[in-house]
C-alpha cells in the first residue's frame, strides 16, 4: 500500500466526506484554491472540485468563522471550520465554549451543533509564543466538546471522517511539524471511532500514553528501552475527550507503571486527569506513581535551544521510564 502524508490524509478525508455528503462544507482563512487552498495547502483542490459556495475563504475573523459554522449547522449543514492555528481559537472561545458546546444542552436537545474545528499547532517551527500552543485541556475541560489529535495519516483520515459524522462539535488538532510525516494510506471510507485508543506496541513493564507528535517521540523511546531490555507498551490515545479509559486502565493493570506524555504544559493538563483516573482505579496495582511528562511551564520560546528543550523528547521519555523501573 502506498504511503501518504498526514496532510494528504486530511485532504483526502475532506474530499471523500464532501463527495459522500452534500451538506459538508468548509470555511476558514485562505481555504479556497484562489487563496492557495490553505497556507500549507491542506484544503487544496477542494473549492475547484466542489465550488466556492461549499469551500469558502473567510475574512481573518475567528468569531465570525466559528459563529457562521454554528449557525449553518443549525440550518442542517455539517461545516468543517479551519482555525488556522490553535492559538487563534482563543479569540473565538465565546463561540466555541459558550455556544457550540452548550446549545444542545441549553436547548434541551432541540438543537445540536455538528461542527468540526480543524486547527494546527505545535512547537519546533520557531513560531514562538502565540503560534505553537497545545490547548487541548481547555476544550477537554468543557462539557459538550470532543477533542481528537491524530498522529499518523490513516488515523488523521479516519478520525476526521468520524468527526464529520459526529452530531456534536469536535476539535480536530493537527500537528504542524509532522504534517509531512508519511504513513500507510487508509482505505477510502475508513473510520477511527472517537474515544478509541490504539495500542501501537505491546509491552509488560511500563505503559506510555501519548498523542499527536509525542507518539513519534515515544516510539523512539520504546525502541531505545527495548534495547535496554525494557518492554514498554505504547498507547496512542488519538482521542483526548472522550479518552479510552478502558484501554489505558487495562494496560496499566498489566504493567503497573504509567507515563503520560503530551506537548502541552504539565500543570492541569490532560496528563493530570489521566494520572488521577489511573490512581483512583488502580492504586493497589501500581508499582510506582504515574509520571506526567509535559512541556516546561512557560510560553513556547523562540530561540532554538530553548524550543528544543521545551517539549518532552524520546530521551526524556526513556529516562522517565527507566526511573520508574529503577
Amino acid at each position: 500500500m502506498r504511503n501518504i502524508s498526514i496532510l494528504e490524509g486530511i485532504n483526502r478525508a475532506l474530499v471523500d466526506a464532501m463527495e459522500a455528503d452534500e451538506s459538508v462544507l468548509i470555511l476558514g482563512e485562505d481555504v479556497a484554491d484562489p487563496e492557495d487552498g490553505g497556507v500549507l495547502g491542506v484544503t487544496k483542490g477542494l473549492s475547484t472540485r466542489f465550488g466556492e459556495h461549499r469551500v469558502r475563504s473567510t475574512p481573518i475573523a475567528e468569531q465570525a468563522i466559528v459563529g457562521a459554522a454554528i449557525g449553518v449547522s443549525l440550518g442542517g449543514y455539517k461545516p468543517v471550520a479551519e482555525i488556522m492555528l490553535m492559538n487563534f481559537t482563543t479569540v473565538a472561545m465565546d463561540m466555541i465554549v459558550n455556544h457550540a458546546a452548550k446549545l444542545r444542552f441549553m436547548s434541551g436537545g432541540q438543537t445540536n451543533v455538528p461542527i468540526v474545528i480543524r486547527t494546527m499547532t505545535g512547537s519546533g517551527f520557531a513560531n514562538g509564543g502565540q503560534h505553537s500552543d497545545y490547548l487541548e485541556a481547555w476544550f477537554a475541560h468543557t462539557a459538550g466538546i470532543k477533542v481528537v489529535a491524530p498522529s499518523n495519516p490513516s488515523d488523521a483520515y479516519g478520525l476526521l471522517r468520524s468527526a464529520i459524522d459526529d452530531p456534536d462539535p469536535v476539535i480536530f488538532i493537527e500537528n504542524l511539524p509532522t504534517y509531512f510525516a508519511k504513513g500507510e494510506a487508509p482505505e477510502s471510507g475508513h473510520r477511527v471511532p472517537i474515544g478509541k485508543a490504539n495500542i501501537v506496541r505491546e509491552g509488560n513493564d511500563v505503559t506510555i500514553v501519548a498523542y499527536a507528535r509525542m507518539v513519534q517521540e515515544a516510539t523512539a523511546a520504546v525502541e531505545a528501552l527495548a534495547a535496554r531490555g525494557v518492554s514498554a507498551e505504547l498507547i496512542d490515545l488519538r482521542s483526548i475527550a472522550p479518552w479510552d479509559r478502558e484501554a489505558v486502565l487495562a494496560s496499566v493493570q498489566k504493567t503497573g507503571r504509567a507515563i503520560v506524555v503530551h506537548e502541552a504544559v504539565t500543570p492541569f493538563g490532560t496528563g493530570s486527569e489521566i494520572s488521577a483516573v489511573i490512581h483512583e482505579n488502580l492504586f493497589h496495582a501500581l508499582k510506582a506513581p504515574v509520571q506526567r511528562l509535559g512541556a516546561a511551564f512557560c510560553p513556547v520560546p523562540f530561540s532554538r535551544p530553548l524550543e528544543a528543550a521545551f517539549a518532552p523528547d524520546a530521551a526524556a521519555i526513556e529516562a522517565a521510564a527507566a526511573s520508574l523501573l529503577a
Partner: protein, 327 residues
C-alpha cells in the same frame, strides 16, 4: 413611508396583539417575581414592544431569529407559545428546553427561535450561519439578529457585519437602541453618534428609525427583509427605543435620569398605538379590551400550567451534553 409598505388592518391589529401580549407578560413577570412565586433572572423588555412586533409581522414562522437575554419580547412576537415559555422560566420539564436553558437561553425552532444568548454580541455571528444555510438552500428564509446598543461596541458585531456584507447574506441586524448598555449611558460607551452609521463601514444600508413607531418600524423591516429575501444582502436597522426598567429585575436604576425615564414612560408606545388603532378605525375599544382580557387569561393559564409541571429529573444532568449520553 410608501403606501406599498403600509400594513392593512389585520396586520396592524396583529402587531398590537403582540405588543399587548409583551406588555402584559412583562407586568406579570415582575409581579410573579415580586410575590415570590418564581425566582429567575429577569431582563425586562418593557418599552421595546414595537420593534419585534412590527418586524415579526413581516416574517414567516420558518424565518429564523437569534436573540439575547433581554429577548422575551422578541420570542413572544415570533410566536413562542406562552405555556412552553413560562414552563421554561419556571425550570420545568415541560419548558421549551426541558428547564435546562432558562430565561436567557430560550430555544424554540418550531417558531424559528434558534438561539437566545446571554453573551452580549453573540447573536450576530450565529445569525450569519443560519442565513448562509438559507443562501445555500435557496429557501428564501431570512434571519434576524437582535441585539442592544451595547453590543455594537463588541468585536463580534464588526466581524459579523463585515462577513454578512462580503457574503451578501440574507440577514437583518436589528439593534434595539434603548440608550443603556447595562448601567452605562449610550454616549459614555459608544463613539458613533448613530449606530446606523456604522453600517457604512461594512458597505451595507444602515437606517435609524423610531423603534417606538409601528408604521416606521414595519416599513423599515419590510424593506430590509425584502432586500434579504431578494438576495441583495444584509441591512442594519437601528431602532430607537427606551428601556422602562433597570438592566435586570431588582436593579433600582438610580443611574437613569428620572426626567428622561418619565418622559419615555409618558410616551409609552403600547397605549399610544392602541389609541391610534381606534382613532383610525382599525379596531374598536371593546375589541381591544376583549383581546387584552384574552391575553391575560392565556398568561394565567400558562403560569398555572408552568407551576403545576414537574421539575426535570436529575438524570437530565447527563442528557443532551452529547448526542449519546456518557456512561
Amino acid at each position: 413611508m410608501t403606501n406599498r409598505t403600509k400594513p392593512g388592518t389585520t396586520t396592524l391589529v396583529g402587531i398590537y396583539r403582540r405588543m399587548a401580549l409583551i406588555k402584559a407578560n412583562d407586568e406579570r413577570s415582575r409581579k410573579v417575581i415580586m410575590t415570590g412565586r418564581l425566582v429567575m433572572p429577569y431582563y425586562s423588555p418593557r418599552g421595546q414592544e414595537v420593534i419585534p412586533s412590527a418586524i415579526s409581522a413581516n416574517l414567516n414562522d420558518s424565518d429564523y431569529i437569534c436573540t439575547i437575554y433581554r429577548g422575551t419580547h422578541d420570542m413572544l412576537a415570533k410566536g413562542v407559545p406562552l405555556k412552553d415559555l413560562w414552563a421554561e422560566l419556571a425550570g420545568r420539564v415541560t419548558g421549551t428546553c426541558k428547564g435546562k436553558g432558562g430565561p436567557m437561553h430560550i430555544t424554540h425552532p418550531k417558531s424559528g427561535v434558534m438561539v437566545t444568548t446571554g453573551i452580549v454580541g453573540s447573536s450576530m455571528p450565529i445569525a450569519n450561519g443560519l442565513a448562509w444555510s438559507s443562501q445555500l438552500k435557496g429557501d428564501g428564509r431570512v434571519t434576524i439578529a437582535y441585539f442592544g446598543d451595547g453590543a455594537s461596541n463588541i468585536g463580534a458585531f464588526h466581524e459579523a457585519l463585515n462577513l454578512a456584507s462580503v457574503w451578501k447574506l440574507p440577514v437583518v441586524f436589528v439593534c434595539q437602541n434603548n440608550e443603556w448598555g447595562e448601567h452605562t449611558a449610550y454616549e459614555k460607551a459608544t463613539s458613533a453618534a448613530r449606530i446606523a452609521d456604522r453600517a457604512a463601514s461594512y458597505s451595507m444600508p444602515g437606517i435609524r428609525i423610531d423603534g417606538n413607531d409601528v408604521l416606521e418600524t414595519y416599513a423599515a423591516a419590510h424593506d430590509a427583509i425584502g432586500r434579504a429575501r431578494a438576495g441583495d444582502g444584509p441591512t442594519l436597522i437601528e431602532a430607537m427605543t427606551f428601556r422602562f426598567h433597570g438592566h435586570i429585575f431588582g436593579d433600582a436604576d438610580a443611574y437613569m435620569s428620572p426626567e428622561r425615564k418619565a418622559a419615555a414612560m409618558a410616551a409609552d408606545p403600547v397605549p399610544r398605538f392602541r389609541a391610534w388603532l381606534i382613532e383610525h378605525g382599525h379596531a374598536g375599544e371593546a375589541d381591544l379590551a376583549a383581546m387584552e382580557a384574552e391575553i391575560d387569561a392565556e398568561i394565567d393559564e400558562a403560569i398555572d400550567y408552568a407551576l403545576a409541571s414537574d421539575f426535570p429529573d436529575i438524570a437530565e444532568l447527563s442528557r443532551d451534553v452529547f448526542a449519546v449520553e456518557a456512561a
